[in-house]
Point group: C2
Chain length 576, copies 2
Amino acid sequence: MAKISLLLSLPILSSFLLFFPLSSSQTLPINVWPKPTTISWPIPRATPLSPSFKILSPYTNHHLQSAVARYTRLLLSEHYYPIVPPAVNLSSSPPLHSLALSISDLSSPLQHGVDESYSLSISSSTGLANLTAVTVWGAMRGLETFSQLSWGDPPVIAADVYIDDQPIFPYRGLLVDTSRNYYPVEDIMRTIEAMGANKLNVFHWHITDSHSFPILLPSEPELALKGSYGPGMRYTPEDVKAIVEFGMSHGVRVLPEIDTPGHTGSWAGAYPEIVTCANMFWLPKGLAHWAERLASEPGTGQLNPLEPKTYQVVHNVIHDIASLFPEPFYHAGGDEIVPGCWKADTAIQAFLANGGTLSQVLELFVNSTHPYIVSLNRTAVYWEDVLLDPLVKVDPSRIPRETTILQTWNNGPNNTKLLVAAGYRTIVSSSDFYYLDCGHGDFVGNDSSYDQIGSDKDSDGGSWCGPFKTWQRVYDYDITYGLSEEEAKLVLGGEVAMWSEQADPTVLDARIWPRASAMAEALWSGNRDQSGKKRYAEATDRLNDWRYRMVGRGIRAEPIQPLWCRTHPGMCNVVQ
Amino acid sequence: MAKISLLLSLPILSSFLLFFPLSSSQTLPINVWPKPTTISWPIPRATPLSPSFKILSPYTNHHLQSAVARYTRLLLSEHYYPIVPPAVNLSSSPPLHSLALSISDLSSPLQHGVDESYSLSISSSTGLANLTAVTVWGAMRGLETFSQLSWGDPPVIAADVYIDDQPIFPYRGLLVDTSRNYYPVEDIMRTIEAMGANKLNVFHWHITDSHSFPILLPSEPELALKGSYGPGMRYTPEDVKAIVEFGMSHGVRVLPEIDTPGHTGSWAGAYPEIVTCANMFWLPKGLAHWAERLASEPGTGQLNPLEPKTYQVVHNVIHDIASLFPEPFYHAGGDEIVPGCWKADTAIQAFLANGGTLSQVLELFVNSTHPYIVSLNRTAVYWEDVLLDPLVKVDPSRIPRETTILQTWNNGPNNTKLLVAAGYRTIVSSSDFYYLDCGHGDFVGNDSSYDQIGSDKDSDGGSWCGPFKTWQRVYDYDITYGLSEEEAKLVLGGEVAMWSEQADPTVLDARIWPRASAMAEALWSGNRDQSGKKRYAEATDRLNDWRYRMVGRGIRAEPIQPLWCRTHPGMCNVVQ
């Protein structure tokens, strides 16, 4: 009772048959996700893990110690069974009794560009394994790889295997929006744990928005007390510290975003005087053009750059965030300034009547916040809108390239090109490829357009960025597509985004995983094999396997195939 | 960071503004899903539920007793809090101490067309509530309604409310496919429990398919022993009995489907001699046309109607299923006969060479199974293909209208029309509206068509029936669209379908709920208000609320809106 849409793709299929002969040898008997850059395993065999197996680490770095303890536990208790057992022989040598860590630079902090490389060797003859890394964070990547080389009960591990590994892109992120819907701390931690397992390294925490202000800040507690969803739905400073520490122990940076000056309706609970158009219906009565909206989705409100008190509050917020989050990047938002919302304010009306422009209003805000962010030793990250919005944007001189990174989300490769061509370091979160929320329908109610068989709503899954971004689409996206070699150097990496209009703890894991895993591999070691071909069938089988291992680890990742496809390797492909 | 695709729908929006003025009075202070046919609550007030509250039922029917015990527990322990508390006054009368049941026909079994009507009154002055129903099953519907009229801790319940209720359509189903991926018994029971809460009444259990044969049948145990995914992934006869009983206690029929003669690859484990083209790669080498496929998706195999042993096995299976499931409908499948698979068999080749047709091959099968099904006092249900497939179908004389029901899944209202015009009772499961699996991408691997920015795969979420069917689309579908009044009488009802190529226990709840709830209301009391308008905003608010109550009851239904929309009633609409 299910058809494959192959009819449409037969011409593509035919050319595929000519150029992409695949053999079963491309399926490794053991799977590490993301695939390491180089892996050598000349004779696939395995050796038992000694019941007294230990990770030998002479280092006192407590994040590393936490990781070592965690991986020791995992190795002895995971007992993961690939449905198709790896076709390897058990070595007759003694069991592996230890993994020795060797780190050359213990002081490099977890920040953008830190060395994440590692080398790993497991020798069956000596009963020893060695993990060498420049930094603590590279060692964590190697520990994860080591854990994925093990399976079974009692556990065995791949033997006589040699891995050299490091990422292609230094920025491999996941955005989670905790404003539209709230997530308890345990959901955030479980997500960060899964990120570490996928070698993703930036948890972009979109903390606040118009819908709620869930973070309790010491200097501005009223923002959360009056702007959160309620007492059980606020992150305390202690929560934040615990999350940041948890991230460190998993090699995951926690990058905070306080979206300003748009997306700030929730600030009006505490400070109505600094927010324009707050608590208004988002579409004015008699709306004739989309341009007249007060917000791009329900939940109105923008900070008022002409109101001095705005800066008092915003500076306090920035200060508190910088104190709570050691991360050297500070995401200031800057997206989707809606003209109608500012125009609803009488002071702004007067400013415009005197020949001022909305872009000047935004520049006032940026001029009064960007230098402050920089003064706290932070690099400011903004959404692309501050540079590319057709109506409300700032002059590039207001956002110096040395202290600014821009994040693209519109128009696929085209806007990436515009940002790097303008000289900005860029993070790619194209909504056409990397938005995990798309395709589940609009959340806005009372919309008659569904009442038509064959309406527009039907063609895109009913959401502005529909359809759903499949793991294949995420996996196949080349984030430097169309860029020159020089331009490509400005692309720091990519980030999948879990906006939460229609997500909360009930669906968090399945919306993120394994699609974020697909990006994780593409950004770590690429989406192509050594001959330059995309890793179609091989990646499907491995991702399917990895998904099951994640489920075993407590991550409710969505299934991508019938179980039958795992028990019948190769049989679920389009080409055998 | 999210836009609404309103640009496209502004013309529709404008006409909407003219014709659909909505007021906040359309939001009831208390919500029952699906909305009862008639509800009268002249003065919205509530009364406390006595801590010693009891449901008074003098009846010994043990399914009813089980329901009474369950709802008593639920009423005293649910403590559901609407985010926006109902705007009602507490009655000064004594607490409600009992609900008295009155049933006139205790013997009607749970089967198609059984009377599900009930009347409910809750009086604050007497401290008594009365539930009157013709049958036990109608009483269960009323108990569910009663439970949804209650909220809070300590619990209160709507008082001085009068409800008369019965469904529009007698068949309101949900299909779950347990062959592509396996679900433990507890997942099936949780799903049936949620069905009862939504007043859905048919759990269509698509038990077997090519991928696995997970049911252990007394006469043919080898089918499961060799065709299931493994020892932990089989339903025993005891499991089936428990599921059927559980269904009865929730007013949910359990309708078994053993799909034949197609979709039977898993039978080849036990009986390779009765299955054609089993275990072959689904697309023959050098495939030039989709018509040459061996299956419509990976997992080949069809029963061989020319092989006498086929009928020995199939009759044993039908006999065992009829023994295990009291349900008077028996779903025999009959969909997607793929010519290439039968043509791979030498005996069928000879039959065709002698002037036989594939349709005759299918007729042989139907002639040898349909009368046997009927002899066991079962009505046979088939997928529409047996009548409408362009290549392989049977003459209507082979499937008499009195003993046959057809289920449509292709071409939306058009095929419904074809089936009822041919005089068949029809169940509507249009894949354009009611397939819950669509839009999550293909599961088939090794497909190069994803490697194109702007490929066909991008436009439909990568699955043949994409995009994702939103709850709005499910809710708005009129299953008798385009039919005459006479034709419409043959439409028994509708069924949402949870095919499991990309679903398993990790995502089951969120894929089904609240979208199945949307169909549940449309089929119970309709998708229009008293003036004939579709219930846009009002239904959104109520479904959102109902979704939260389901989550509280342990059903991980997906969120449809930010929590903000509940705390700001009306503000998330397109029209206020």
